[in-house]
Structures are given as structure tokens and as C-alpha cells.
Symmetry: C2
Subunit: 449 residues, 2 copies
């Protein structure tokens, strides 16, 4: 469990005005980590580590070169070699060096703190408008969980299952291995895939997939790795979670439903999007909350998935939203429409339980591995966190304010995910956007006859 410290002080303000704007995603209490390069640089410019504050990006390697870091803070920054494409080596050190870095940055960025950075802000800070964000780390393995009861129940009903939530859902955090290679950073266009599905008339089709969906998820990134054959007790799971990002688990639903024999494969693997800024587990410590209550029909937790600490502090007070902007909306200058507003407390399992279950069989987790929560749907209609639920698997189209309707995502549609921890009178911290726009499918290349 992470103790609160001065970096969490809600009264702390930055000398950078944009960090103090009410509702800003990146106040001084956040300081998320990412990898950036400058828009003005060549496409192939190596990304380097950074922290976001207000509307600015702090170049950590430049701060180190300017002599502003020492001790563990320097160790955290220097772990990332110039040839590294991600923060993995910093994450591998566990949460302590990153915590020292955070403490030092908070001191350099706060009103009345060390003025070393403020004096050189012109060369050490960049406007977020001038940078290109990259994936924050190399993702070796990607696991996606299924932990929302309402999401599972609605999907089961669409498939006509008599008992839409099978008993195993209550006994363990169900998951599948996802495809790591096709994860891209927010902003990367999403090419509509070609795929195979079973049509309503029973025929098997192949072509551009109509049934395109978003899935609104939060995802944990592994920091310190675990070793093969060495499970992690639940109360130590937090030591291996470095931070969190937003995840859009884009789905080709017709493909997913037809290929389903061993779980999702091509229905998901064409691309997944994550937000570029890793909100650290430490930054989220003030927003710990009780784990959601178990449902009445759920059996008692098995001992390896139960601890008093996890019950008391395993949840996170994070609200999540999905927004849709269609091509027609952008042409007419009308703003995006909110598709969903949900909360992480809709999940049946905590991230600690997910991690502990994941390595309960000895499976090793590596720095940078990604664990998605599954679609964060709740019981309420506005908490349906994917279009399949909102439009009842294509049967009841969503009517948009401008007269358009959507059964599935169309070409040109842009989906933006957002999330915030806290708020309502308290300091809140945000995740920044996770966005992607659908491009038309390409013609499928066939062998020459």
C-alpha cells in the first residue's frame, strides 16, 4: 500500500498557471510519465522520458543534464537508455525510484519550491501542442480481463444464453491473452479490418467488417516483474503495478462472435489503443476506496483472492467516459457526444486480484506488461461502455442529436476515452485522452489466380 506524502497535498500549486486550472488533467498532484518527441523532429526521432504538467511536457533527460536530479530520482531517469523506446527499464526498478523522481519533480514544479527548473523552463519544458507522444513502454504481453457483471450479462443475453453469467465469473477474474504487437498510442488511426463472419442467412462472409465497436477500459502496467513459478500474495500485488492508462479495446464484433471457440482473436487483434501518459499508482493513492461488494450469488472469495487490505483499499475512485465525434459533427462544428459515463467501482475484481490471479500459476509478469480491466460497464443505461450494449448488438440504433444514428462505428467516427480520479470539491487528476478515428477498410489482397 502506498502512503500519502507531500506530493499528494491538495493545497500544493504549481508556478505553471495551466497546472492550476480547475479541471485540468495534469495538476501538480498527477505528474504522469510518458515518452515524447518533438513535432518539429523527424518521424524517426527517438522518444525520451517526460512528465506532463498542465499544458506542458517536462523533458526528464534534459532536466538531468541540467543537474536537477540526484540519487534515486536520477537513477529512475538514467535507467532509460537513449536507445530505449519506452520506460520499461525505469518501471523494472519498481515504484520507489519513480516515487523519488515524483517527489523531486513536485518540488521543482511547486510554487515556492526549488527554482532551478522555473529559471530554465524555456528550454526544459515544451508545450503539449508541440510534442508527439509515443507508447509509454514496450508491451511484452497484454492480458485483458472480463470483470464487469453488467457487460457480461448484456453480452450473454445478446447471444441468447439462458444463464448469461457463468459461475466461474464469480470465482476468479476471467481473462484472455490479448495481442501485444498491435497496441498503438492514442491518436493512431484505426483501420477498419477485413474479417470472416457468419451472416444472418447462415452464410460465411469475408470482407470489411461492419460491426465495429469501442470498449472503454482502464489498464494497469506492470512495474517490477515477477519470476516464473513465484506467485505474488494479494497484499504484495501493488508492488508490481507501476501505473494505469486508458485502453480502447476496439472490437470487430461479428468476427469475434463467429471465431469464438478459444476466445477473442482476430475480432480484437487488428489494433488496440492506449493513452500515452502513465498515471502512477502513487498518484492514485489518495483515490483508493473499498473494493466493490460481492454479489449475493457469489461464493466466498478463495483465500488467495482475499485480504482485508484489498477489501478496504483495493478499489479506485475513477470515473470514465467515452465520447463520439462523427465526420458530420466535425463538418458542422458541433462537439462530440458522450456515449458513456461509468465508474471503476462497477468492476467485480480489483487490479490487485487480477495481478495475483494472473501469477497464481507461476506465470511471470514483465515490466511493461499490460492488464486491461475489461469493459467498465455498469447497471445504468448511461454506464453501458460499448456500442454493442448501447445499441443492443445492432438491434436498437443509437440516435445522435444531429439526426445521425449508429448501430456500429462508421468510417470517420472518432472515439475519445477520458478518465478522472477524485473530483467534486477534491483535487482531481486525469488521464488525458485516448482517441482514435476509424479509417475505411482497404481492399483485401488476394493471391494472383
Amino acid at each position: 500500500m502506498i502512503a500519502l506524502n507531500a506530493t499528494h497535498d491538495p493545497a500544493r500549486r504549481s508556478w505553471l498557471a495551466s497546472a492550476n486550472t480547475p479541471g485540468a488533467d495534469f495538476p501538480i498532484q498527477n505528474l504522469p510519465l510518458g515518452m515524447f518527441s518533438l513535432q518539429s523532429e523527424a518521424d524517426a526521432a527517438a522518444p525520451r522520458p517526460a512528465v506532463a504538467i498542465g499544458d506542458q511536457v517536462v523533458d526528464l533527460r534534459a532536466l538531468d543534464a541540467a543537474g536537477l536530479f540526484s540519487g534515486d530520482a536520477a537513477r529512475a531517469v538514467r535507467a532509460v537508455a537513449p536507445s530505449d523506446l519506452g520506460l520499461n527499464a525505469m518501471m523494472a526498478l519498481g515504484n520507489q525510484p519513480a516515487s523519488a523522481l515524483r517527489a523531486r519533480l513536485s518540488e521543482l514544479l511547486r510554487e515556492g519550491g526549488d527554482s532551478g527548473l522555473r529559471e530554465r523552463a524555456g528550454t526544459l519544458l515544451h508545450s503539449q501542442a508541440d510534442v508527439r507522444m509515443h507508447l509509454p513502454c514496450r508491451i511484452g504481453d497484454y492480458t485483458d480481463f472480463l470483470t464487469s457483471y453488467p457487460h457480461t450479462e448484456r453480452h450473454g443475453r445478446f447471444k441468447g444464453l439462458a444463464d448469461p453469467v457463468t459461475p466461474v465469473f464469480h470465482s476468479l477474474p476471467v481473462a484472455y491473452h490479448g495481442r501485444a504487437s498491435s497496441i498503438r498510442v492514442s491518436g493512431t488511426p484505426v483501420r477498419r479490418p477485413n474479417g470472416q463472419w457468419k451472416a444472418a442467412d447462415g452464410s460465411i462472409q469475408f470482407g470489411a467488417v461492419e460491426a465495429m465497436d469501442l470498449e472503454l477500459e482502464l489498464a494497469a502496467l506492470v512495474g517490477a516483474g515477477t519470476r516464473l513459478a513465484e506467485p505474488v500474495p494479494l497484499d504484495q500485488a501493488g508492488e508490481h503495478i507501476f501505473g494505469y492508462v486508458l485502453l480502447n479495446d476496439w472490437s470487430a464484433k461479428s468476427v469475434q462472435w463467429w471465431e469464438q471457440m478459444l476466445g477473442p482473436f482476430l475480432g480484437k487483434s487488428f489494433m488496440s489503443s492506449i493513452s500515452p501518459w502513465v498515471v502512477t499508482a502513487e498518484a492514485l493513492a489518495p483515490f483508493a476506496m473499498r473494493a466493490p461488494a460481492r454479489r449475493p450469488e457469489a461464493p466466498p472469495l478463495l483465500p488467495y483472492l482475499h485480504s482485508a487490505q484489498d477489501r478496504e483499499r483495493g478499489g479506485l475512485d475513477i470515473a470514465l467516459e467515452a465520447w463520439l465525434s462523427t465526420a458530420a459533427m466535425r463538418e458542422t462544428g458541433s462537439g462530440p457526444v458522450r456515449l458513456a459515463a461509468t465508474h471503476l467501482s462497477n468492476l467485480t475484481w480489483t487490479f490487485g486480484q487480477m495481478l495475483t490471479h494472473h501469477c497464481s500459476n507461476g506465470c511471470d509478469l514483465h515490466p511493461g506488461d499490460l492488464m486491461g480491466s475489461g469493459t467498465v460497464s455498469g447497471e445504468r443505461d448511461d454506464e453501458r461502455a460499448c456500442l454493442t450494449e448501447i445499441a443492443s448488438a445492432g438491434k436498437e440504433p443509437l440516435h445522435l442529436p444531429n439526426g445521425e444514428e449508429r448501430r456500429w462505428l462508421q468510417d470517420g467516427d472518432e472515439v475519445t476515452l477520458r478518465a478522472r480520479a477524485g473530483g467534486e470539491g477534491r483535487v482531481a487528476i486525469g488521464f488525458g485522452p485516448c482517441a482514435g478515428r476509424i479509417l475505411p477498410a482497404l481492399p483485401y489482397p488476394l493471391p494472383k489466380a
Copy 2:
């Protein structure tokens, strides 16, 4: 399609006698690639690229330092940097540089060829008994297919399914994403996992898993990568397959059957084993054969999964075996028992079809990605390529010649997979062993109360 050349000449012999022994896995026609270090070195010694010949290992970097390589052969070897842990950078170049390397090595190792290596064999070659083999490459993503009809049918029957092979099996190569982090090289002990399962009385249990199984598979390694959103036509799939290894997809069957909602997860992810030597696609070119005939009930292939070339030459003439040595057998000095003898032609889909289907939705494949065939079971009883099939899911124990019986693998059991292409009067090439011994489960660490 790979053309035959002088390196395939069945009459070619090596000046190294052990390479000419009938039945040797590594004659001069094979020349598989791997990563080795010396037993005499520290555990942390960096692995470096090698080729196997007879009972020897050829140190490729040492040959390069001795001036024995130029052009593309040198380029292939030098692609692998001293800090690299695998052959990925060589594989990324595609099959042509590796082919040039193979041609040069064949010339250096053949009777009557270039004598530059023979004269310095004492320093450039090592006995296989003196080396430690490592994973041949970093495996970014691991995909496991399900392509044996008999395997699928028997498993479906054990589960009580009325229609054990669902129609999708015939329409596309079914697959799931596997866990890449827990793949280990042959020889690594296999720790029996703890896990959760549903007992016969309906209760949910957690503890050391009894139902341990092997699964005999062949797996392709991706060479030249593919790009996001760019599918690969079937006739070009071979350009992205660098070579093949044996794969033991160790399974905790009771866990797999209970957790199944989104496909295999902890039932498989505790560890998978692969053989260390990559038998190149080029070395296997002489063993290309017709793809297996489609079953009568299968619909016509969709165009993206059909080509005349794949039908004519997409299969591989590879025989595979699994062997069991129990602790009792080793104590009494009796040799291992053969559990299964099967053939790759038992698979419904070709590796070309698997790769083309995998990226038909735009999913990008990276150098070193692993694609398992699924358990290579055939119709005959001796072709059942896992213990679940052999012992009817624990109901009909296998009786071993020494009086032991097995429903599942026991602690101390060692399983060795082997495979050979060709044979019966023709030159044959082998894969070397893929072995692993089961260790007892460790007590599960629980949170302190």
C-alpha cells in the same frame, strides 16, 4: 516458395563424421540456427548465434571474426548484436541473408569444400555436450492454433458436447493468443502449478493441479515482420516464416476446463517449452507436400485461404513423437516409453494459411513471433498427441511397461518431443529434443492474516 539448391543435395556429406551418422538430427542438409553459451562460462554469459552440425555447435561470430564470412552471410551474422539475446535481428532481414549464410556454411562444412573452417575446427566448434542452449529469439507474441480435427473431436467428446467440432473449425484456423513471457527453452524444469478448478462434487478447489498434460506441437517462427493494417496474401506467407521449432504446450487441464469462458489462460500460461534449434524453412523445402485433403463436411475454402500453390506444396512431411521417462524408469535404468507417433499431415490447415489468416485483419506480426500448430493428433490411437486423449481425460489410465500407470503427468516425469522431416531411404533432418521434467508444486503463498 523456396527453390532447392546445392545445400539440399542428399549426396552432400560433411568432413565432420558425426554429421553423416544415419539418423542424425543435424546432417549437413539441416544446419539449424540457435543461441548458445558454454557450460564453462558464468550463468549470465551472453548467448551468441550458432549452427548445429552432427554433435557439434558452430560459433558463427567466431567464424566471422576468423574472416570466413562476407556479403549477405556476414550481414546475417552481424545483424545479431553482442547485447542481443536472440536471433531476432537476423530473422527480421527475411530468409535471403540466412540462405546465403546457410550456403556458405554448407560449403565450409562439406567434404571437399572450403577448408577454412576444418583447419580451425578446434577453436570454432564446440561439442554439444559443452554448451548451454538458450531461447533462439525473443518471442514478442505467441499464438497457438487448434488445427487437428481428431484432437478437437476427442476433447469435445470428453466435455460431453453433442457436436464436438463446431463449424468454424472448417472455415478458419481457430487460434488463441498465448502467453509469451513464460516460454522457456528445452531442458527448463516445469514447476507444477497451483490453480483453481471445479471438483467432481461441484466444489471449487485451489491447490496443486493434478491434471497435468503435455501437448505435442510444431511451431513456426516469424522472420520478416508484417505491418499493421497490411494483410499478407497466401502465396506470400512463406516469405514471413523463418523456421520451425518443437513446442510442448504444457497444460493444467482441470484449470483450463474451469476457467474457460474466453479461452485458455492460466491452464497454459505457467510455462511452455520450445526446442532450441530453429530448423529453417529453407532446410525443410525438400519436404514440402500436398496440403491435407479437406474433410467432406468442410465448405469450400474462402478465396483468401486458398491458392493452388498452398494446396500443392503447403504441407510438410514431418513425423513427430512424444516420449515419457518416469522417475521409476530412470531409477531402474529402463529407457523412455513412446507416448505418441504422429504426422503433421494430420492438421487441417497449413502454416501458410495460419499466417495469412492471422494478419487478414491487419494484425502485425513481428520477427520472433511464435505460431503453434496446436496438438498434432491423428485418428489412430498411437497418434493421440496428449495424455488427455491417451487416458480419456483421466478415465482410462495408460499402463506403462514397468507396471506404472498414468492418468496425468506425475512429479518427476520427463517428456521429450522429437520430430523428423523425410526419412525412409531419403536424407532426413531432425529438430533435436524438446524436453522438460515436472517438479512438485510449491506451497502457495497466502497473505498474512
